[in-house]
């Protein structure tokens, strides 16, 4: 059953993320989103199958429920998780290739630098399980070959040391559990198993089915980038079914009247929740792009760094420790949230000592 199950976040872990002392949620969201995008871009350039990159996205999301986001540079965490997952797959990559690709992506000559967030949700990847990579998409990143960045020997040494150190720290933070089961192959298999999708738009059933599968997989990939972190709270069969449902709605496939999701052991409530979550990703992505531009005031472009976030915190007066807020509405919400969290902490401490 391991191929259908993942370790999930505990309520405690989810709660910690929103608790006292944590970064404001909307900053966490931006960090999460842009780092996951970076991982995706690096996976493309390293010619890794999407199944490998997707696992790296999930490991990274888990890691950030255990370790503070600000503990290490975001791009380093992205590189370490991708390197680790690739090592365990049948597509290992060398530290040198990883160093080179990340240096490139973070340099001013990459398309990612100029518009790190313009692409999500990413183009539907090749059919799952096929080992081919989308070189066509990859080339769009490396258009400007003449301007590739130079990585000095000492720069490489430093990157290499950070990469291996973080690999160990990520492993320790996850208790050395690197298992990730992806919903993508399940969605494809389930769609094949069900012959009940007949299409209104055009007569070609086969083309319709392919469109449907591609759409479902796109939902699953988009959900990887979203800080809702649905992969940490729901098992692959539920994610697969929700993506199928959403995709069927989009392409106008006719679904049976019965509660077909129960065949895959998903109940209506969970399905409903996931469908809402997955469908919100797109609108949310637009908002994210806007937020990201704001968060990077002072530095026009490129990957978000810890420095950017520290700067933003300082602007909001959240680091200096003086009174919260510079009149921004978010800060007020944060303060209220923190107050609630503090009360909850006290209550829990009380209960624990009473028991």
């Amino acid at each position: 059953m391991a191929h259908m199950t993942n370790p999930l976040a505990t309520p405690d872990q989810l709660f910690q993320r929103r608790s006292l002392g944590a970064l404001p949620m909307e900053l966490q969201d931006i960090i999460f989103f842009s780092t996951q995008c970076l991982t995706q871009a690096a996976g493309l350039l390293l010619q890794l199958p999407q199944s490998v990159t997707a696992q790296a996205n999930v490991l990274l999301a888990r890691y950030w429920l255990v370790e503070s986001m600000m503990a290490h540079e975001f791009s380093d965490v992205s590189a370490a998780t991708l390197y680790l997952v690739a090592k365990l797959s049948s597509h290992p990559v060398s530290p040198r290739d990883v160093a080179y690709i990340y240096t490139y992506l973070l340099s001013s000559s990459s398309a990612f630098f100029h518009d790190p967030s313009s692409r999500p949700p990413p183009p539907p990847p090749p059919p799952f399980g096929s080992e081919s990579t989308t070189t066509a998409t990859a080339s769009s990143f490396s258009s400007d070959k003449s301007n590739t960045p130079y990585l000095s020997p000492s720069g490489y040494q430093a990157f290499h040391a950070r990469l291996l150190r973080l690999e160990g720290l990520v492993l320790a933070a996850l208790g050395f559990d690197t298992h990730v089961a992806l919903p993508h192959p399940l969605a494809v298999t389930y769609l094949q198993a069900l012959d009940f999708f007949s299409f209104r738009r055009d007569g070609s059933k086969e083309a319709g089915r392919r469109a449907l599968a591609a759409r479902a997989v796109a939902y699953l990939n988009a959900a990887l980038l979203s800080p809702q972190a649905l992969y940490l709270t729901h098992q692959p069969p539920a994610l697969a079914v929700a993506a199928m449902y959403s995709a069927a709605r989009d392409v106008g496939a006719k679904m049976p009247e019965c509660e077909w999701w129960e065949v895959f052991d998903v109940d209506r409530e969970e399905l409903g929740f996931l469908v809402v979550g997955m469908r919100s990703v797109e609108g949310w992505g637009r908002k994210m792009r806007k937020d990201m531009k704001e968060a990077m005031r002072g530095r026009e472009r490129g990957m978000l760094t810890r420095k950017d976030v520290e700067g933003e915190l300082r602007r909001r007066g959240l680091v200096a420790g003086d009174e919260v807020g510079n009149g921004s509405k978010m800060a007020v919400v944060d303060a209220a949230e923190e107050e609630a969290a503090r009360r909850l902490d006290e209550k829990m401490a009380e209960m624990a000592s009473a028991a």
Partner: protein, 460 residues
């Protein structure tokens, strides 16, 4: 062997003291268990309260994380971990049973349609090795050091296997170690050694030592065979082999190839329970197996002929060959096929099994190393098959059939409980028990015909 001077780690006194303490510890364990249960209950209450309030909080933001109240996100692992430690007597081929359970009544109540719940556990930080007290070293292998240790908090005795990390290795944590950990984590069977947790060195800023915490078993088959004054009875061989086959069938059912079965990797506790250990060479394979596996696996004396011939598309049959070799060794207390090198090993295989014919093993001549091979013509010069002195001999183990396709598979998990069978047939326990537990001399590296292992190369 017992006449040898005090061994490097002989620890008889500590063992005796431990024995004397056992009662005390058992009581202590009981107490701790009760306390743990109490704590868990308190924790659960607190968590429910937290979940309830989070879901209120999350109520005004439907796009963000799921309301935690909706369902229990994590099974409380500890619930079935608690009774899982060591007491093999009443736990047998405990396959997946605990995992499929609905975690609690509160979820089942909300679940009218009887849907299957998928439980994958949780994730969280590794603890420090400082939670264990080292008792003595057991063995130094190729990939690690193994020592006996005690959990400071619970008193449980465990085996700590330290992954060898080469600081000069530019690729970081060895992939073999990571695979070993992942596979052991995924396994749950009475004849496969249990991984309790993975702990790390105390330095929080870097991870330079990694330890697998394994359930402790008193012996391995190799040392037992070396120390035994007389060979196993046929009934003993049978119960050992049954357990080995049952564990191996579980692995193969879960798409795991072990690729290093040999007597030193088969552990045995004082109650006669056999467990497969050392997954340093193991990996998941697809079905049918991929075509690019490395043939450089399995210790030479236990290596199947197709591997010796350089086959890269092989499957469960390579493990079954090793089982045949172990079988022979159990009967005679001597490794069955002690080749000096790969060519010699192959010659010995053909001497025992006969030179394969194209009918019996179609296509074997096309294997990479078969071309330069001078095969003896004519009927096989069979040397006598291994036999148990105490009973009518089985014929040449049928798992030692040179053609991989006619080699039998590991049987489906034995239905009847292996411990009851064991009790009935009076297994090897009296002998092992008569020796002080783990009081065998450390070996001087004489592991025999170890293959040239590719170390960090991405093994396929």
């Amino acid at each position: 062997m017992a006449s040898k001077p005090k061994s490097r780690w002989a620890d008889d006194e500590a063992d005796a003291a431990l024995e004397a303490q056992r009662k005390k510890e058992k009581e202590e364990k009981k107490r701790l268990k009760a306390e743990k249960a109490r704590k868990l209950e308190a924790e659960r209450k607190a968590r429910e309260a937290a979940a309830a309030s989070t879901s209120q909080q999350a109520g005004d933001d439907p796009d963000r994380g799921p309301p935690a109240k909706r369902r229990r996100l994590s099974p409380e692992r500890d619930n079935h971990d608690g009774d899982d430690h060591g007491d093999d007597d009443h736990r047998d081929d405990d396959n997946e049973a605990p995992r499929a359970h609905a975690p609690s009544s509160e979820t089942t109540a909300a679940d009218p349609s009887n849907l299957l719940r998928f439980e994958g556990g949780t994730f969280g930080r590794s603890r420090s090795v400082e939670n264990y007290d080292k008792l003595n070293d057991i063995e130094e292998g190729t990939y690690g050091w193994v020592s006996r240790a005690k959990d400071v908090a619970t008193g449980q005795v465990v085996a700590l296997k330290r992954l060898k990390m080469d600081p000069k290795d530019r690729s970081g944590v060895p992939v073999t170690g990571l695979r070993e950990i992942q596979i052991l984590k995924d396994c749950n069977h009475g004849n496969v050694v249990k991984l309790l947790e993975v702990v790390v060195g105390d330095d929080a800023s870097k991870v330079d030592s990694i330890f697998l915490v394994l359930e402790f078993l008193e012996h391995d088959l190799k040392s037992i065979l070396e120390d035994m004054p007389s060979p196993f009875l046929a009934s003993e061989v049978k119960t050992l082999l049954r357990q080995l086959a049952s564990g191996l069938a579980y692995l193969h059912d879960h798409f795991i190839l072990h690729r290093d079965l040999k007597t030193s990797n088969l552990l045995l506790n004082n109650r006669g329970r056999l467990k497969i250990a050392d997954f340093g060479m193991a990996r998941y394979v697809s079905d049918p197996p991929p075509a690019n596996l490395t043939p450089l696996v399995v210790t030479l004396w236990y290596r199947a002929p197709e591997l010796l011939l350089g086959e890269t598309r092989y499957g469960a049959a390579v493990d079954m060959w090793s089982v045949g070799c172990v079988f022979g060794e159990l009967l005679t207390r001597e490794p069955l096929l002690q080749g000096r090198n790969e060519v010699d090993q192959l010659a010995r295989v053909f001497e025992l099994c006969g030179t394969p014919s194209d009918d019996a093993w179609p296509g074997f001549r096309r294997l990479p190393h078969a071309r330069g091979l001078k095969l003896p013509r004519g009927p096989p010069r069979r040397r006598s098959a291994p036999r148990s002195p105490s009973s009518p001999p089985p014929a040449r183990p049928c798992s030692a059939r040179s053609s991989p396709s006619t080699r039998p598979a590991a049987p489906p998990p034995a239905r009847c409980s292996s411990t009851t069978t064991f009790a009935r047939t009076r297994g090897p326990s009296p002998r092992p028990c008569s020796r002080p537990s783990r009081a065998r001399p450390a070996r001087s590296g004489g592991d025999g015909g170890r293959p040239p292992r590719r170390r960090r190369a991405a093994r396929r």
